[in-house]
């Protein structure tokens, strides 16, 4: 399941909803991405996440489908926010549930790695020296690339 929303989310609520009434799930892995106050040496006051409505949902659904094909997953949830966020705010939540913890860990990491390089979001940081678009990181491309060798 995927959701793209302006509002905050409640990780505990989402984890509980995904596992409620299930007794076949052995492990649940979750990743929560937060806005960091320091962007390199600069302090940020706020961050605005722009996205491509319509395509974002499609891209996240495609990534979810890919994970489900690669690993035996009982449940998947991706929630990604857009709009204005402050340091410490939650940006993204990825939850994977599986009978086996290795599958849940691998799939969760794959999802966040792919999401960082495939989902059409762009971060604009409001720093003390003015607004600045975040540049894509080579390290994220490398993180995503490691899943291609499989």
């Amino acid at each position: 399941m995927i959701r793209v929303q302006r509002e905050d989310f409640d990780p505990g609520h989402e984890i509980a909803a995904l596992t409620r009434g299930r007794s076949d799930i052995g492990g649940v892995v979750s990743f929560i991405g937060l806005v960091r106050e320091m962007a390199g040496a600069e302090k940020i006051k706020a961050m605005t996440l722009e996205h491509y409505p319509g395509m974002t949902e499609r891209a996240l659904e495609a990534i979810e489908a890919e994970a489900k094909q690669r690993w035996p997953l009982d449940a998947v949830l991706i929630v990604h926010r857009y709009g204005e966020l402050k340091p410490g705010d939650r940006i993204v939540l990825v939850i994977t549930a599986s009978a086996h913890r290795d599958a849940a860990f691998d799939a969760c990491r794959f999802l966040i790695d792919w999401l960082k390089t495939q989902a059409p979001f762009w971060k604009l940081e409001d720093t003390e020296s003015g607004p600045r678009w975040v540049e894509a990181k080579d390290s994220d491309d490398q993180a995503a690339a490691r899943w291609k060798a499989d």
């Binding site: 491509y52 395509m55 390089t117």
Partner: protein
């Protein structure tokens, strides 16, 4: 053809969205980008470095060799930075 621009490209070109009728010789993404660059220095600046221009046609990622047709929604944007 519906053109969408995001992030830095939107700021440099100066609009988020526009409807354009490229000439009939524009049949691929590469040709579309080349034609857009002739529309003004703002386009030329935004699209100068192909490494920093990603393309989606009808909401799917495509390469520069991909075809474009009059009814398409074509989005141009920099490498993504979500997550």
């Amino acid at each position: 053809m519906k053109l969408l621009y995001f992030a830095t490209l939107r700021q440099k070109i100066g609009t988020a969205e526009e409807n354009l009728d490229p000439p009939g010789s524009v049949a691929t993404v590469a040709q579309l980008v080349d034609w857009l660059k002739t529309r003004g220095p703002n386009y030329a600046a935004a699209l100068s470095n192909p490494k920093l221009v990603r393309v989606a046609v009808n909401r799917e990622y495509v390469g520069y060799a991909h075809g474009v047709a009059p009814g398409d929604e074509v989005a141009l944007f920099p490498p993504v930075t979500g997550g």
